[in-house]
């Protein structure tokens, strides 16, 4: 009887000890879990901040990129529109120029062009003058007047006509030097400056 109760006491004691041990283990495991959770929360928070920050940066870059590209595309479209308008303006101007070939001022211009061209090719009077078919008669008249006044001597108007708006092209007698003083070449020379003026007008800049 007494040995049984001693055994029971011992069993009870072992059970108590085990229980206490298990409770302590559970407590420490619980505590450890809480600690882990806490530190994970910190890490998670840091990771979340990192991801959000990276995404924010990426979004900012993307935004900048999209806005930048859109602005550039709009600017390029504006450039093309202006260029079309500038080209139209030039076409109109060329038509007007072609129509003004009969005016007196054009004769004066031709005279100036011939003198300027002869001077450009070194003042040599032995030159061949080329022009378009419509101007041929007027050019011959101007050359004849210049010859009469002694300003030009051995100039000859070519029978080979050139396809230009107006003006003249002068060649040295041996054909090695050419001075292009046609209206077309003058327009080409001044085009960059005129383009700027037209573009400013289109943009409303004074």
């Amino acid at each position: 009887m007494s040995s049984n109760s001693a055994l029971e006491r011992m069993i009870g004691k072992v059970l108590d000890q085990k229980e206490a041990e298990l409770i302590s283990q559970i407590d420490s495991a619980y505590q450890e879990s809480l600690d882990n959770l806490e530190s994970s929360r910190g890490k998670l928070e840091a990771e979340r901040t990192r991801i959000v920050e990276a995404a924010r940066k990426q979004a900012e870059n993307l935004k900048r990129q999209i806005i930048g590209s859109a602005r550039l595309a709009a600017r390029n479209q504006e450039l093309l529109t202006i260029e079309n308008a500038v080209n139209k303006a030039f076409e109109e101007a060329k038509k007007k120029l072609q129509a003004s070939n009969s005016q007196d001022s054009y004769k004066e211009l031709l005279k100036h062009m011939i003198e300027e061209s002869i001077s450009a090719v070194g003042g040599s009077n032995a030159v061949i003058i080329e022009c378009n078919k419509n101007d041929a008669e007027l050019v011959r008249k101007v050359v004849s007047e210049l010859q009469n006044s002694g300003k030009v001597q051995q100039a000859r108007v070519s029978d080979q006509y050139i396809d230009v708006l107006g003006g003249i092209r002068i060649k040295s007698a041996d054909g090695t030097m050419t001075y292009d003083n046609t209206l077309d070449s003058r327009i080409e020379r001044l085009k960059p400056l005129i383009r700027k003026n037209i573009a400013q007008m289109l943009r409303g800049v004074e």
Binding site: R64, Q65, N76, E83, E116, T176, M177, T178, Y179, P192
Partner: protein, 461 residues
Amino acid sequence: MTTTSYGIEYTKVAELKGPLMIIDGVTKVSFDELVEIETVDGEHRLGRVLEVGFGKAIVQVFEGTTGLTITGTKAKFTGKTMEMPVSQELLGRVFDGLGKPNDGLPDPIADRFVDVNGEPMNPERREYPTSFIQTGVSVIDGMLTLVRGQKLPIFSGSGMAHNILAAQIARQASVVGTKEDFAVVFAAIGVQYSEAQYFKRSLEESGALRRSVLFLNLADDPAIERIITPRVALTVAEYLAFDLGMHVLAILTDMTNYAEALREISAAREEVPGRKGYPGYLYTDLANNYERAGRIKGKNGSVTQVPILSMPADDITHPIPDLTGYITEGQIVLGRDLFRKGIYPPVNVLMSLSRLMKDGVGEGKTRSDHMEVGNQLYDAYSRAQEVRALSEIVGRAGLTGIDLKYLDVGDKFEQHFLKQAPDENRTLEETLTRAWDVLSGLPEGELTKIKEKHVRQYYKG
């Protein structure tokens, strides 16, 4: 009446020799005058007068003389030097090596036309560069700081990542803490088509094209065109900087191709060759380009130059890097060993130097510890390299404790500070934090180049 005098067209071509065309019977022609050439087929090319005398003119044809004939070729002397139309509209545009549009858009509407040869900067009016440009590349910002108005070349080797680095700098470069405008002028000289596309795409996709002007001279374009590419690029850079008040970073890659073109012309002119066949005036010619960087007193803008050159056979004593080094204010050298180790950007910091860094960093400009941290990193990495060499002989077991620490610092420097993704844009703060991460691997007592207060503030040991 406004004079429209525009030069005479000559047909008497006496000789075609390499990239040169000799024209006979010319009068009233000037040195450097622009020449418009028309081939028998009606194709137009450009050239410039190199020499005049005895009724002859030697013309350098930019697009080369292939296809030109003695008879039937016309050369019109325009009476002016080569000019580049400039305006703010150039930003966001792509041009070829001669400054002609390459993006399907019309010619820019010019504010004015500027001689591409530029005007020499009056030395008395030069202002000493002292303001920082952030590239977003740690090794440059932290240790080889670029300063507005500086000329800092990158010396690279064949096949190395200089073009990736160039594009990264072009995308990321900015002036921090100021609302002043910033622009990038990028001149690709003799690059492959794929590289040119990479530069263009890279700027487009990052949205940086809007503030950039690109000049693309391809490897299959005539070599002679390369003579003009840096000149047109720098002309635009000067206009943006000194007329519009912008801070401009001009990146010129690859200047070796430029020097090769110069050698080709020199050989065709039968000039007495200098070192490795380059003309004797290579130094002067390079200086003419490099010295177009700087700041001018009383003007807001600046031109900062980063010329990139690939050293033939990685030889830093080759005439091109050698002469460049005399003119520029430091150099960034890319190392083959680092490149082979897969480290990008493979900057060999021990051979690199930014001479103006000391004036562009520190309190009020970047951060008070910046210069000291840069110096300490140099010192630590240099020591790490020595220890690496020693460990090759005696093995790690033979090293002392402090040696082992330096060895680790060397590795961390390469992996944590130097190594960077090509699309990673680091702020200066981030760069310096990484620098302190590396330096904190050493005992405090080893940080002899840094003031105690900074060690107390930033050391993480």
